[in-house]
């Protein structure tokens, strides 16, 4: 029974499966359009944000970790002291997401009825910071300090053997909060995964208030009024950032191979690497010729693909589906939205191209370190 459960979980956590499932679930959990909202209502997914939803979610996470604790393989990764923050992250993210969303649903209902959000108070009816806020701050920092001290007494900070540049551990992992970026390295070269995309994440996040021109939902929890914005943010943050951290921490073993949580980290696991570049697909497999010696000619199809995706596609969208959006937010906002949005969605696209077509690079110019 428990072994079946373990093997099912192992199979489900393969990035191909888990990532696909989560990508399908995200628009159902945070429905960006009426169509998704209908499915959300039909299957009662909104119940996740009610009290039974909280208990079920917390119960499932706890069950998973308890089973994991008693599993000889998962126990090793689970009980590493530096992985404790990730367990904490999974619990706290779920709880606070639940808290925010359940408050948002309450406010959505009130706004539908024409009432003000719960947070609303008469502007003249204010409270004094001393004592009403100062005491709350004081109590919360005391409680947090107690938590931190208990954590520090119970779990010793990790200290491995002295640094030895001659012995590379396998796998070598970055600190846990960077494991999402390290996981991205599977699909993109370091210049993108390690430099350009992190820059885009920082600048893209800073650009959110300028791209989101929806004035509603300022200063109170709400979902319905800003559902598209919340969906995009949650997909980028929960799936492309936090979930990749979870994959990188728990599911990546020696040689950065995938291992299910209950699998033994076999350093000799053989995974066939037969990834093919787009240029090879085109010239060798389709046209049956050798690769042209001229680099630009060789990669011309790749350049056209990337150019079409990053530049032609937004223009096409602006003329068709996003016509209203383009008219509403103007060319500068639209361009930045497309730049950051398309870069973000290039990650799942590249993942699927890798999984289904073994595609290595769309543009492959290792001579210039320019691989996309």
């Amino acid at each position: 029974m428990i072994d079946t459960f373990k093997s099912v979980i192992d199979a489900l956590s393969t990035p191909t499966v888990s990532f696909t499932l989560l990508s399908i679930f995200t628009p159902l959990v945070f429905p960006p359009t009426d169509w998704f909202d209908k499915i959300n209502r039909k299957f009662g997914i909104w119940r996740l944000w009610t009290k039974p939803g909280l208990y079920t979610g917390m119960g499932f996470i706890t069950f998973f970790f308890v089973v994991g604790y008693f599993d000889p393989n998962f126990n090793i990764t689970l009980t590493k002291p530096d992985n404790f923050p990730i367990i904490l992250m999974i619990y706290s993210m779920f709880f606070f997401l639940w808290l925010g969303m359940s408050k948002a649903y309450v406010n959505d209902e009130r706004i539908d009825k024409g009432l003000k959000p719960v947070e609303y108070n008469d502007p003249d009816d204010k409270v004094l910071v001393w004592p009403d806020l100062v005491y709350i701050e004081f109590i919360s920092l005391i409680l947090f300090m107690v938590f931190l001290i208990v954590w520090s007494i119970l779990v010793a900070a990790p200290l491995e053997e002295p640094a030895n540049p001659a012995t590379t551990p396998n796998p070598s992992k970055a600190p846990w909060y960077f494991l999402g970026l390290q996981e991205m390295l599977v699909y993109f070269d370091p210049w993108l995964a390690g430099i350009v995309f992190p820059m885009f994440i920082i600048f893209g996040m800073m650009a959110i208030p300028y791209m989101d021109t929806n004035p509603k939902g300022d200063g109170y929890y709400s979902f319905k009024e800003r559902r598209i914005g919340i969906f995009i943010f949650m997909y980028g943050w929960l799936i492309l950032w936090l979930f990749l951290i979870v994959i990188g921490t728990f599911f990546r073993g020696p040689n950065w191979n995938f291992f299910g949580p209950f699998e033994y980290w076999d350093p000799h696991k053989v995974v066939p690497l037969n990834n093919v570049n787009l240029s090879e697909y085109f010239w060798v497999k389709m046209l049956n010729t050798g690769l042209p010696s001229n680099i630009m000619l060789r990669e011309s199809l790749g350049f056209i693909t990337v150019f079409a995706y990053m530049f032609m596609f937004p223009i096409f969208l602006a003329k068709t589906w996003f016509k209203d959006l383009f008219a509403k937010i103007g060319p500068v906002r639209y361009t930045s939205l497309m730049l950051f949005g398309l870069s973000m969605f290039s990650l799942p696209i590249k993942m699927y191209l890798r999984w289904f077509f073994n595609l290595k690079y769309i543009i492959a110019i290792p001579e210039w370190f320019f691989n996309i």
């Binding site: 530096d82 923050p85 992250m89 706290s92 993210m93 606070f96 808290l99 925010g100 969303m101 947070e119 609303y120 108070n121 204010k126 409270v127 910071v129 001393w130 806020l133 100062v134 709350i136 701050e137 919360s140 947090f144 931190l148 520090s152 007494i153 779990v155 900070a157 990790p158 200290l159 491995e160 002295p162 640094a163 540049p165 070598s172 992992k173 600190p175 846990w176 909060y177 960077f178 370091p190 210049w191 995964a193 390690g194 430099i195 350009v196 920082i202 996040m205 959110i208 208030p209 989101d212 929806n214 004035p215 939902g217 300022d218 200063g219 109170y220 929890y221 919340i230 210039w368 370190f369």
Partner: protein
């Protein structure tokens, strides 16, 4: 209505003493006026306004995460200073100093507090961001402060990353090696980045393994003695200094942008 001396509590008597009044001018904060003065007269507390709308003091609205992030920054500064008493950032001593710290120093949980506090700070900063996003508090007039917040989050991650190297164990150097290897692929200024070969005069490459951005970060071609010193200085002085400037701007702008967000 004046009470006579016997009815006054100890606190009230203290509040009337010259010492107390020299520190807290308004005496013991009991009346509405005194309570407002207690906030306005204190250099620390006047980060807050004297009065707030009701929703702003509810934990359910703010989650306290911004405040806890700042609190953790202070905890990390204090524990960090204590750790600096015992720690020497050299390849020779770094690791043994950490051992010494755990085994010889009485009540030695400073390193634990520092490490777990740093991890917790990453989480509280993320949760603060989630709260601000979910309440739409980044919307005008608070766009700029959201941007400052994103930079503070980046600085938090970078602070945590630079500190990761300091114990000088296997975990430290290989995590930092993996992390800093990215820098060699930086476009134009990393020696294995696209465009780096364009920066050349004739046959001479300007960007090579001994001159690129990774070399600048590590102070060498690999994670070694110079890297340890560089990360130590970045971790203890440079990044906290920058973070403190941004924090000042962040807190100041909360007030200048109309205080905590709320429904109109």
């Amino acid at each position: 209505m004046a009470k006579n001396d016997k009815q006054k509590s100890l606190l009230e008597r203290l509040g009337e003493s010259q010492v107390w009044k020299s520190i807290i001018r308004s005496g013991v904060p009991k009346t509405r006026r005194q309570r407002m003065h207690a906030i306005l007269g204190s250099v620390f507390l006047h980060l807050h306004p004297a009065r707030l709308p009701k929703h702003a003091v509810k934990v359910g609205y703010t989650w306290c995460m911004g405040g806890l992030s700042f609190f953790l920054f202070i905890v990390l500064t204090i524990t960090g200073i204590l750790l600096m008493f015992y720690y020497r950032p050299t390849v020779e001593y770094a690791y043994t100093d950490i051992i010494d710290l755990t085994e010889q120093v009485p009540l030695g949980i400073m390193r634990e507090l520092h490490r777990w506090g740093a991890h917790a700070m990453v989480l509280t900063v993320w949760l603060h961001m989630l709260r601000v996003f979910m309440t739409g508090s980044y919307k005008p007039p608070r766009e700029f402060n959201w941007g400052v917040g994103v930079l503070l989050m980046t600085l938090t991650l970078f602070l945590s990353f630079t500190g990761y190297l300091l114990p000088w164990d296997q975990l430290a150097i290989w995590a930092v090696t993996v992390g800093t290897n990215m820098a060699r692929a930086h476009p134009f200024i990393g020696h294995e980045g696209p465009g780096a070969s364009l920066l050349a005069i004739g046959d001479i490459n300007l960007v090579h393994m001994g001159s690129d951005v990774r070399f600048a970060l590590l102070g060498g071609r690999f994670v070694g003695e110079a890297t340890l010193l560089r990360f130590y200085v970045l971790h203890c002085i440079a990044v906290p200094f920058i973070a403190m400037i941004f924090m000042a701007v962040h807190f100041w702008r909360i007030r200048k942008d109309g205080g905590i967000s709320g429904p109109l």
